[in-house]
């Protein structure tokens, strides 16, 4: 087509970048102790390694404590309106596929008001990264229950306990055929950083749920499985191609019994042979679905990559249709367009 190329490629930074290149000059305004700090730090640390010019990053968010994130990252950023970050991201990425687009969202932002956009961005396999800060509460509006809050939760808006059954974000993503699905937690910075990096490298939609502590309105929401003392016993690190083993002494595993999962005590059984082998590339989402539904106390809480499969992305398909149209009909000619159809001349 006849337009100038976008200015995206000129003058990328020459030097390798560092964390502080991704720190903006804005004062970070989360509560002291908030889990958001850790996610911000890991993101800023990981970004330089992606080898993408800084000016090609766009962080997009909705509204919520978590959604303040873009202000703190020294890239292009768009703090949108509540629940609509995926729509902004769609416009950005579909227009400019060369940009690296990140959606930062909260459990209310993504799953309550923004549920529909989340679902559609995922099913279209738009090549963006969606990082959901799940603190199981509405932080910014001061503590109402969210779609991921546990049933019966007492909050300001539910003094008698909530009566909404919680949503499992991973299941929603998987049922929309998300091509990359992962989970991590704010307190495990190494794990978090690795998951974010993998998400960044995935082509297609990457969905990462990050358990995030809101120490003001929902303190300790994840500590029953995430505290150091028993974290290894109550969480399961997913590793592609490896059997599902967990426990401080790696003495427990997960196996399939008919349609269901069960925990196996490896000290009692003789072998790991019949344990499930994790396979993130399985085109069928059944394993991912089974894993996503595992929860403490019946099961360990799985962390890591649940699924990573390849599929053409929405933005590239859209671009291809444009290129295809050009190669079939030639670059659009306005004069010809206006003169198309039945015409006649008046003298």
């Amino acid at each position: 087509m006849s337009h100038d190329g976008d200015s995206g490629r000129k003058g990328a930074a020459v030097l390798p970048m560092r964390r502080r290149d991704f720190m903006s000059d804005q004062e970070v305004r989360w509560c002291p102790g908030c889990g958001d700090y850790s996610i911000l730090a890991q993101t800023q640390k990981m970004l330089p390694d992606l080898n993408i010019p800084r000016e090609n990053f766009v962080f997009v968010s909705g509204i919520g404590c978590s959604s303040r994130f873009p202000y703190y990252v020294n890239t292009y950023g768009f703090h949108g309106i509540h629940g609509r970050a995926p729509t902004l991201a769609t416009g950005i990425k579909a227009s400019r596929p060369e940009l690296s687009v990140w959606v930062i969202t909260g459990d209310g932002d993504a799953l309550s008001i923004g549920g529909n956009h989340f679902m559609h961005a995922v099913r279209r396999n738009l090549d963006i990264n969606i990082i959901l800060f799940n603190n199981r509460i509405y932080g910014l509006t001061k503590g109402q229950y969210s779609p991921t809050s546990e049933f019966g939760k007492k909050t300001k808006s539910t003094p008698a306990g909530s009566i909404d059954y919680p949503i499992n974000p991973l299941c929603i993503a998987i049922s929309n055929e998300a091509t990359f699905v992962a989970r991590s937690i704010d307190v495990d910075v190494k794990h978090l950083s690795s998951v974010l990096t993998q998400a960044a490298h995935h082509k297609g939609v990457s969905f990462v749920e990050v358990f995030q502590n809101c120490n003001i309105f929902n303190d300790g929401a994840f500590k029953h499985f995430s505290e150091r003392g028993f974290r290894d016993d109550r969480t399961l690190r997913l590793e592609d191609g490896k059997p599902l083993v967990f426990g401080r002494d790696r003495d427990k595993g997960i196996r399939l019994n008919g349609l269901k999962l069960e925990v196996v005590d490896l000290r009692r059984e003789d072998s790991e042979a019949d344990l499930l082998i994790h396979d993130i590339h399985d085109p069928d989402p059944h394993l991912a679905n089974l894993l996503a539904r595992m929860d403490y106390p019946d099961f360990p809480v799985p962390l890591g990559v649940f699924r990573s499969v390849a599929k053409p992305t929405y933005d590239e398909l859209m671009e291809a249709q444009v290129q295809d149209a050009i190669s079939r009909s030639g670059t659009g000619d306005l004069e010809r367009l206006l003169n198309s159809g039945d015409t006649w001349v008046v003298k």
Partner: protein, 619 residues
Amino acid sequence: MPATTTEKNHKSGREIVEIENATIRFAGDSGDGMQLTGTQFTNTSAIFGNDISTLPDFPAEIRAPAGSLPGVSGFQINFSSRDIRTPGDQPNVLVAMNPAALRVHLSDLEPGGIVIANSNSFLPLNLKKAGYGSNPLEDGSLSGYRLIAVPLNELNGKALQELNLHKRDADRCKNFFALGITYWLYDRPLEPTLSWIEAKFKRRPQILAANTLALRSGYNYADTTELFTTHYRVRTARLAPGKYRNITGNEATAFGFIAASQKLRRPLFYASYPITPASDILHELARHKNFGIKTFQAEDEIAAVGAAIGSSFAGHLGLTGTSGPGVALKSEAIGLAVMTELPLVIANIQRGGPSTGLPTKTEQADLLQALFGRNGECPVAVVAPATPSGCFTMAFEAFRLATRFMTPVFFLSDGYLANGSEPWKIPSVANLPDIEVRFRTEAEGFQPYLRDEKTLSRPWAIPGTPGLEHRIGGLEKQNITGNVSYNPDNHDRMVRLRAEKIARIADFIPSVKVFGKPEGKVLVVGWGSTYGAITSAVESMQEQGHPVSSLHLQYLNPLPGNLGEVLSRFDRVLVPELNLGQLLMIIRSRYLVDAVGFNRVRGLPFKISELQEAIGEML
């Protein structure tokens, strides 16, 4: 249709009367193909060289029950050897394919007008569905008209006999038989329709043959029988020299946006959720991907406007289109575009409201929504085309202003413009205004909310530009730096700056021009699709010597700078609108003029005659 000259038809020997203009309305069941028939008559007349104006009118249902009143679909064409501006107040000819069509449309027909009715469909069941106690073709109730009862199914069936079609398939062609009759009646050439049939059905030779035969047979039937004692000729209009095509408002709208994209040298990104009567813009733009256009059918209107805003942020031309209910949904996001000061065009093809309202009917009742339908002080620019082909210019204008002023701009069309059509003198691309986008690229001195002195607009600094990394959003911004600011004085300043920025657009748009004398007794002020009817009414009042002038606003916000002064030159101001007085309120409040409204909210355009009456009452 006042006769001008008369001659004998060389072939039939019957009289041929030359007239200045005529109005014909085709009406039938949703399944009878009336929209297609009307379009063929339109194109033929346009190519023939008449000036034309059309009014399609169809039900909200896809195929409402056969024979029912709500299922009637109509298409009216006014064609003329003179300049015309409306589809005509009263048809001279009504083609009624069934009793329901007759019942719904008869009251509009001119006294003594011609009714061409398909007598085969005036059967007891259909008569009952249409609420007729007896057959109007036989009970004398049509004595005030010239009734031409034609057994269309029968005649058409016989004509197509040789093709051995199923009766149902043959019957489907009867609209072309009827069209043929009307072509004879108005002495139209068959060629344009014949070649359309050929192109359209080239892969289905049976259908091609059937339609061709039906059309010709209808024509010949009228020619050979004594159906009509006279037929009519409407000469070529004295249009300005040039190359013409027929164009609907929605087509012109799509072309205008494409033209803006080409001139601005930025790709168009159209995000929309289907809705009547805006969907055709999506359909049209989706066909022109080779212009670098991307079209996105979003999951809903909110996603559509969000994506358009995202695209604008990324440096493309973000555009979203919808109708009133969709605008309601987009309003929160439009506020975001105002706060982030990004270019965005929102096309609202207005329809009857409130709520779902009358989805396929026209109305002008979303002006105040465009101006005020958001939380906070949230000013946007508003433009409104006046004619189907004028949609081209105003769509182009919308993007000129949006990019120049970094602001959302509403483009307010309506159902009548969208589906109506007229001949359009194709502009030469070279003559289109030169407009351009200048992205900020220098990092030195860059501030996201630094303002241009003249326009007050902020720089457009798009992702991918090194050194201009910045963050925007819906929280109040500090002027210049663009940082989030809760400072009271900054907020007050920003609220006023945003308002002032829109106000300054007035310096970048044409002054209003008065149609008629620059001063006088009555000034008629209109906007949008009522242009044709208002201008025609005013013109005829002027011809009768009345001190009436008119002006038509295509820029609704800001209003042209000279408007107040023009208003002050008239004793009285009349504001006709297809709503309860929306522009009226603005004008009264702004200029403290005791303007009076003339308001009809019937889902239909004004009639020239009712406007003449209203103007008459002001004199």
